[in-house]
Amino acid sequence: MLYRPLFGALLGVTLFAAPLLANELASVPPIANAAAKKECSACHMAFQPQFLSATAWTAIFKDLSNHFGDNASLPDATRKEIEDYYVANAGRGQTGLLRISQQSWYLIQHREVGQAKFAAVKSKANCNACHKTADQGQYEN
């Protein structure tokens, strides 16, 4: 929808030492782990593991009882299964940023989306409000 391959690629190359090109993430595999699919979609869309680095996912799963201010705790065995899946399939975003919506590629891709549009869909966690096939890993439109 907002995708401009050349501009995005150039900006990526210019800004980052190890550029994460946004087009790597326009299409990612759908979540293949049943527990992850169920538990991570309970309060928001289940985000695919490729959107954050392994370091970031590890930090997120370390404190599910305070998950961006909410209690998302899980039984230990379930948490471990899901964490292992996310870490094994992680991408290579900025390790210090735990919010997908603060990653550079995200900001670049959404630079033309105004606050009003984000407000209308309530939260940036609602990828599928605009990307109708987000839960299948398809973000191209």
Binding site: C43, H44, M45, K122
Partner: protein, 141 residues
């Protein structure tokens, strides 16, 4: 022997209530389990109350997070309608058993959500009596 008496008392309590078409053995077993726990916590426990459950569902708590002052903040004033996560906007399937027959049929899920949401809304765990009241209310809606 004591457990047997309690179970018999619970069975009598449950039998006194006419079973609607969407009764479910797993939900009945869960309620029976909460009844045993409630009786153990308070010997004066005399059965669950849909009215108390309704009050629990609707009561607003000033010390809760601003987005989630009450159960109905996310689950909606009418539990037969879908709700919406107050932070992410994700649609939540109806809580009322008449509209969603799967409600309260998987013990681990029920305990997971009471564990998370009672802390968020009431700033404490719910008692077994409160859990039973809540399910009784929503089973009657």
């Amino acid at each position: 022997m004591k457990t047997t008496t309690l179970l018999a008392a619970t069975a009598a309590l449950l039998a006194a209530t006419p079973l609607p078409a969407w009764a479910d053995p797993a939900r009945d077993a869960l309620l029976a389990d909460y009844a045993v726990q409630a009786k153990a916590a308070d010997p004066a426990f005399g059965g669950f109350s849909a009215a108390r459950g309704q009050s629990l569902y609707a009561t607003k708590h000033a010390d809760a997070a601003p987005e989630t002052p009450a159960c109905q903040a996310c689950h909606g004033e009418d539990p037969r309608q879908p709700g919406q996560n107050a932070k992410t906007g994700k649609v939540i399937e109806p809580m009322a058993v008449s509209a969603n027959a799967k409600r309260f049929t998987v013990k681990d899920d029920v305990e997971k959500w009471f564990g998370r949401n009672c802390k968020a809304v009431l700033s404490r765990d719910c008692t077994p009596a409160e859990k039973g009241d809540y399910i009784t209310f929503l089973s009657a809606r």
